[in-house]
Symmetry: C3
């Protein structure tokens, strides 16, 4: 025991946990050069600027351990590299879990099943101009989540997440103030998914939104084509439910592929912040679902603000882990007259 | 030299330090689901809420190098995973050191010897409701520390730390404005320790607190029982010195163990913030010793606020590195009427 | 495809990127004990304080991948360990790049070529009192950089960086609002470099500064001697261009070496913040080039504030990766009367 103590003390001081193998470092480096031309509203002067930016570059540590009886423990800590801000790291998916014959169960921070249900639809994911999240709701990463992923059964997988609100001040005090469910199906060239979200907004606003997303992708080998729709239902008198729809695709050309994407919505981000005016800016419900909320939803805007986002691009793999790409995105709002034209070229390395 | 230069330049640009082996990644993933029922004070409405939370999850990098002649260099950078806040990482123990026949000497941020002296007393460590730090003073991690750990001699180990105040504005400008010393003894089933802290609070308040902690643990193999006391001395006229005492234990039952813990104090955290009123909130002395201070200590409260914290739980190892646990903690203050009831279940994975 | 989907879904959930080898962890642990005696200005009371501090301790992850045809992809994410502040990590060099026969090209955050051109001139680099950056301008790390490093040709290497301003509000909207160029030559005992910076300060101030730095180092094996000058040109009527000059050297003595450094400037940091008064504090141009700016440069100070920084020290390697050092730095401003005396001893471990 003497030896044990001295070791224990030394360990407490210099080594909180003995080196226990198999932590894996992973991440993604993605930087672009871009030119963005922005006109804030009808009649405003356009601002044209160049930039060099990290595009959700990330690093993480993860690992797993076989517990016997087909059971596995796993952990995953992923961080955003805040390259441009000087503030070190931000948070991405971070959780602990158990997996086995029953599937996988998780606790922590994770993308919602709805976000996961998009599969490979987004041809311009992560790009500040280009990502579907600019136009479509439901691409959320949430804290305080209990998630479950079923095993694949005949090509079918179910994913569900309960999200605790942790805002008792708004009477959001349950384990399932926000729920996200998704069914995914994959068979040969087909990928199809349907996802459904419910949101309790507590005492902030009595709108009880629900969100439905459908995605269908056909992968023909030399080409891919996909369609996605989102339908948001708001329990607000006199307010239309905003919808959004998008098509995307790519086709192999030479050593790379040409990418296309067209998204359209009744209003930006399918209208959450647009439809509900008088909102408290940046009130985050469920720690991560960024619903802008109002206590006076009656003042909802009568007119839709139709949004269009069109992107074209080219990308070419330099190896399994390294890709370069270039492209152009045009974003327009018909009511406000906002317009963004973005040209970009970048390099991606996964590790 | 030509080659050397080009290499040097390339290195400066792409590789500040050549890969030099043996950095070890370590950490701990700990998440719980909890239900917490809080009554802020006598007569207040209780708030009951569910949550999913990271419990001091952490990652770190550490390593050591043999310098010859029995000397070793070591480093340790450990960070808290701020999963719930979106702010990336916070700080835990971070230091550089030398170890050899003389023991180990460190510079940086570290748990105080008093914190280290608790051994395995705390059955509910880290838990927001359950950790002894809710009731007992002295569980501090401090910046600006010079620490020393002796080799074990006949079961006895000495640990000492000098902490620089780095607050010359408060006339805390020495290397030992805060001192923490501990002697630990381990022999067969016995673990015993005594720790002593002095604090200079500079011109903020002339109370010159000292803190004494004793811990005794008997580990009988199938069961463990421990007792701890803390005695704080304050040089404030008319103010009683707050004490705290606790007992804890566990007993093997089936594949796991049942845990019990009972803590009692004259006032919360042994009364620092309670005894000294008119304090400046969150004035951190010694960068980490969170003494709430006052320039008018004369207004100290006459009445004690007796605090009780009782926890029961069960934990079961699923492997050497993975453990699940569940439990309940009750916290009460008799003067304010504050009451907290917490139910929790969690999963821990060390790596 | 069924299997692929279930794997893809599982991967999306628990493993954003398959473990893809060869990420290298690197870093530096550097802590000192120091005593600093500061007199803020003529007649002020001196403040004398001890401290224990991390000196730009850092950790990072980097790697590279062979793309074939002599081409290589590389990434580098380096973070400052904010040990003393509790805020986790800050940013250092972070970039993605391609290297090949043409040299190396980078996107991200990086030291400027001018900073790189100092070679091993600075005998007291990183030290809060001692680093040449206290006196000399041009030691910058910048965001939004496109950098290029040529291959070494006959001992000669060229390094260039274009820095995007990303401040369209100040009409800094190009890719080269700040430019830094350096030529480095190394042959036998000789290291010589010349670097040149241009800064566009947009609408903030019409001074169009340029900075020229020359460095010459002779490494005689048992000793090293170096000289560096910086010349800043400001297009401001009635304002002298501030210059700075320094000499440094070291000589082997016993198992270690004695280090000397003498720096002198017309005004602190060669006078940027001194020459241009009425400035807006901490306006960072080019995200990292900390030019303090004024819209009323006409009030520039007539009198120089001559700065002297003298350091002596000793350092001894305990291994290839571990070094201890001790030293003294004296800093003086003749106009303001500011004076700093710093004694320090520290331990460095590279990994």
């Amino acid at each position: 025991m003497k030896k044990v103590l001295s070791l224990a003390i030394a360990a407490a001081l210099v080594a909180p946990a003995a080196a226990m193998a198999d932590a894996t470092i992973f991440g993604k480096a993605h930087f672009i050069v871009e030119n963005v031309d922005t006109t804030a509203s009808t009649g405003a002067t356009s601002v044209d600027a160049w930039g060099v930016d990290s595009i959700h570059s990330r690093i993480g540590v993860k690992g797993s351990e076989d517990l016997g009886n087909g059971l596995k423990a796993l952990y995953h800590f992923e961080f955003k590299v805040n390259q441009d801000s000087g503030s070190g790291l931000g948070d991405r998916n971070q959780f602990i879990g158990l997996s086995g014959g029953f599937g996988t169960a998780l606790l922590g921070t994770h993308d919602t099943p709805m976000k996961m249900s998009q599969g490979k639809f987004d041809q311009f994911g992560d790009l500040p101009n280009g990502d579907i999240a600019n136009v479509m709701p439901g691409d959320d990463r949430v804290d305080n989540v209990i998630a479950y992923v079923s095993p694949a059964m005949g090509g079918f997988t179910f994913v569900g997440a309960l999200v605790a609100g942790e805002r008792p001040d708004l009477e959001l005090d349950g384990l399932a103030d926000h729920v996200s469910l998704a069914g995914l199906y994959s068979n040969g060239p087909i990928f199809a998914s349907l996802a459904y979200n419910t949101y309790d907004l507590g005492t902030a606003v009595d709108a009880d939104p629900t969100l439905l997303r459908g995605t269908f992708i056909w992968n023909g080998g030399m080409w891919q084509a996909g369609v996605m729709f989102n339908s948001l239902s708001l329990d607000l008198p006199g307010v239309d439910d905003p919808d959004s729809i998008g098509v995307s695709g790519n086709v192999k050309v030479g050593p790379g592929k040409i990418k296309l994407q067209y998204l359209m919505a009744d209003s930006e981000r399918a209208g959450i912040s647009d439809v509900i005016s008088g909102f408290t800016p940046n009130v985050a419900i469920n720690n991560g679902v960024n619903f802008d909320l109002s206590t006076t939803p009656a003042t909802a805007r009568a007119t839709d603000n139709e949004v269009t986002q069109i992107s074209v691009g080219y990308e070419q793999a330099l190896s399994k882990r390294t890709t370069w790409h270039a492209g152009y995105t045009m974003y327009e709002e018909d009511l406000t007259g906002k317009e963004v034209d973005a040209l970009f070229a970048g390099l991606i390395h996964n590790f």
